[in-house]
């Protein structure tokens, strides 16, 4: 079956990366770890490595093309496997040479479906955020993150009335909630852990079955929700719960670490219809946390320092791709991010102690629940997690896995999420 190699996330909220080198061509056989391409954003370049062995059976890009991040850069498959590539929409003939975002469907009839590229705008885009000076002043004054505001001015520019409207809206709508995959049925909401953001889920979601609606949010103090500050774990749960309640439908929750604790606490809220829980390395099930990691992670300023701390997240350091470290570092180009995460850390931890517990909430939850923890978790105590997982939940303790089971045991985690979702019906 064909597997995609995704265009890496080259920076927070960047949607496109430029392909600067391609080291393979159609039909080439690659093995795990081969350098297949180099892509770059405005800030940095990223090497793309093959994660598995296979033959390049689809390669829609050429050097200098712009590709959508976290979409397939190429597909690997078996010798002779065929991929149908739909003809490019005629609109692309007048648009600048730019490949259409591709969506993949599984074997056997793999079709890379090209969507129409919108015709080039008649006005040359100057790039950057379009907003009026008055809107910028008002946004700074009211503490509104202007990048999160939908503009109603010419060509989507953010103007004063947009800021006024956002500032007047209830605070709970301030969390970034995005659709990662559209589909029919009960939405699955992914909640990231401390120090991450919703983009961290995209590789996992790319491996899951198509057709289901997947959403992810940025926790308060993180990613695009960084301006939303909370002073306690309960505040964080309230903010997330309010944002999810606005969706007004039943949900499956998948959480990692602090995100798993938030997911668990949401079940006790009473006004959300949570159909299942999948908890990866859940926090809140014991007091211990690696406070040195939290401090070191926040303080790191170079790629080397950040990599040194992030290696604690995994059991096998080889699993920590440099691209992950670079993406985390480039997200910090936004000078507001680390202070926001630091404030979130103060709300959640005191030294090496978690200031919250979700053990009671988990014990009271009787829907389908899967708890996945790495036996080699260096951030939280796998023993505490096991001890506080109630008997009605399925506990999976993964050998040779650290704090990121979704990275170190991706296939198993995908299967366990899928099984949990199906158990909920």
């Amino acid at each position: 079956m064909a597997q995609p190699i995704l265009v890496p996330q080259v920076g927070q909220d960047l949607t496109e990366a430029k392909i600067v080198e391609l080291h393979v061509k159609l039909g080439d056989r690659v093995k795990k770890g081969d350098l297949v391409a180099v892509v770059e954003s405005e800030k940095a370049s990223f090497e793309v490595e093959a994660f598995a062995e296979g033959v390049v059976i689809s390669l829609p890009y050429k050097v200098d093309d712009w590709a959508t991040v976290l979409e397939p850069l190429m597909l690997l498959g078996a010798e002779g496997e065929v991929v149908e590539v739909a003809a490019k929409a005629s609109a692309s003939a007048v648009a600048p040479a730019q490949p259409a975002p591709a969506a993949i469907t599984p074997h056997p009839a793999i079709a890379v479906v090209a969507t129409a590229v919108p015709a080039a705008s008649p006005q040359p885009a100057l790039g950057g955020l379009r907003s009026s000076p008055a809107a910028r002043v008002a946004a700074a004054d009211k503490g509104v993150d202007i990048a999160r505001v939908a503009g109603s001015g010419p060509a989507g520019a953010v103007v004063l009335r947009d800021i006024t409207a956002v500032a007047a809206a209830p605070r709970s709508s301030g969390l970034a909630l995005r659709t990662l995959q559209s589909g029919a049925g009960t939405p699955v909401v992914f909640i990231h852990g401390f120090g991450g953001d919703l983009s961290a889920w995209r590789p996992l979601v790319g491996r899951m079955a198509p057709g289901l609606p997947f959403m992810a949010l940025d926790l308060p103090g993180h990613g695009a929700s960084k301006a939303h500050q909370v002073t306690s774990f309960d505040d964080m749960v309230t903010a997330v719960g309010d944002a999810l309640r606005a969706q007004g439908m039943p949900l499956h929750l998948v959480g990692h670490s602090v995100g798993a604790a938030v997911a668990t606490a949401l079940t006790a809220r009473g006004d959300l219809d949570i159909r299942s829980l999948t908890l990866l390395s859940p926090a809140g099930l014991g007091p211990a946390v690696d406070g040195a990691y939290v401090d070191g992670f926040l303080a790191a300023q170079s790629e080397a320092a950040l990599a040194a701390w992030m290696r604690r997240l995994v059991h096998d350091p080889a699993k920590l791709a440099p691209v992950l470290v670079r993406a985390t570092l480039s997200a910090r180009d936004d000078a507001a991010l680390v202070p926001a995460q630091r404030a979130a850390a103060r709300a959640l931890f005191e030294g090496s102690t978690q200031l919250f517990s979700t053990a009671a909430a988990l014990a009271a939850y009787h829907g389908p629940c899967t708890v996945i923890v790495g036996r080699e978790d260096a951030i939280l105590s796998a023993q505490d997690v096991a001890a506080n997982t109630p008997p009605q939940a399925a506990l999976h303790r993964l050998p040779n896995v650290g704090h990121l089971p979704q990275l170190e045991a991706t296939d198993l985690v995908v299967r366990l999420i899928d099984r949990t979702l199906r158990a909920a019906g």
């Binding site: 009026s132 000076p133 008055a134 910028r136 002043v137 109603s152 001015g153 010419p154 103007v159 004063l160």
Partner: protein, 333 residues
């Protein structure tokens, strides 16, 4: 208050100041016996005699030279030039002599010279009789540039001009002479550098002058029916310019449209826009819009003449753009 035509208000100003100050005299083509092509000076010859109201040959360079020289010598000449287009013949006297003299004499010499003339498109008088040339004078340090839009302003500004000591380009508009408006009884003087809010509003500031004022006021009235509140500011004198009035209004409305009849390139509107950009940037919620004439010689053909200078629909469209009103609203035009 009583209603006067623009030309009657100008005549009153000249009459009152000639009666008050014997050093005021008027020269120009056909201004004495014929009373002027626009009838501004009608009756003044009979009242003040040929020594103070004098016809000249068709020789603008000479008339302007006489005026600048007489002003330096202590008189208060008013030189009427039939079309501003013809003032180009006297540019050396205006630019190199009148405008510089005060500075070059360390302030001891003054040039209370007034050039009254008229410009603007209208009526198919073609490329050499239709220009709006205020930007040329605006560019020259040392000149005052006055552009009244109403009878009251015309009278008050001309009287002020005749009581101050710097060279004044007093630029009237050929379409305004017959316009009527209320003018205060008795002594009425309008100081230079004081703009006038011709219509108060809260949604958008429109800065306009001369014949663009009545046109803008019509546009504002029509937009008011749609709930758009337009503030119309008439600076009245471009030099000195009432920056404070413009900037305060923009700070309030956060939007500005500048309407000038003159062609766009190198115009006064561009300079006012740059002032707003420098001093009120953080108040702006929309780019400053300029509605101006096209960069073409004014055509003789009446339809093309109309198309080459700002008209009401264009002014309204610019105001809607400044308010971020979408194409649907514009289609209603």
């Amino acid at each position: 208050m009583r209603e006067l035509m623009y030309r009657e208000a100008l005549r009153e100003a000249l009459d009152e100041e000639m009666a008050r100050d014997p050093s005021v005299f008027i020269i120009g083509e056909g201004i004495a016996e014929r009373g002027g092509s626009y009838k501004v000076t009608e009756g003044l010859l009979a009242k003040y005699g040929p020594g103070r109201v004098r016809d000249t040959p068709i020789a603008e360079a000479g008339m302007i030279g006489v005026g600048v020289g007489a002003a330096i010598a202590g008189a208060r000449p008013v030189v009427e030039i039939l079309y501003v287009d013809f003032a180009m013949l006297g540019m050396d006297m205006i630019v190199n002599q009148a405008a510089k003299f005060r500075l070059m004499t360390g302030g001891e010499g003054r040039v209370p010279f007034i050039m009254r003339t008229q410009g603007g498109a209208g009526g198919g008088v073609a490329a050499q009789h239709s220009q709006s040339l205020e930007a040329l004078f605006y560019h020259i340090p040392g000149l005052r540039v006055v552009m009244p839009s109403t009878p009251a302003d015309a009278k008050g500004l001309l009287k002020y001009a005749l009581r101050q000591d710097d060279p004044v380009m007093f630029l009237e508009h050929k379409h305004l002479y017959m316009n009527k408006g209320m003018v205060p009884e008795g002594e009425h003087i309008v100081e230079f550098g004081k703009g006038d809010i011709k219509r108060a509003g809260s949604d958008v500031t429109v800065v306009a002058w001369s014949n663009m004022i009545p046109r803008t006021l019509e546009a504002a009235e029509e937009l008011a029916a749609e709930g758009i509140s337009v503030e119309v500011i008439d600076p009245r004198t471009l030099v000195p310019l009432d920056r404070a009035m413009i900037l305060n209004s923009v700070a309030k409305t956060r939007r500005c449209v500048i309407v000038q009849e003159a062609n766009r390139r190198g115009g006064v509107a561009s300079d006012i826009s740059s002032i707003i950009m420098e001093e009120a940037f953080w108040h702006l919620d929309a780019p400053v819009e300029i509605v101006a004439g096209l960069d073409v010689p004014i055509p003789f053909n009446l339809a093309l003449e109309q198309a080459s200078v700002p008209q009401k629909p264009g002014i309204k469209a610019a105001i809607r753009r400044a308010l971020h009103l979408g194409p649907a609203a514009m289609a209603a035009e």
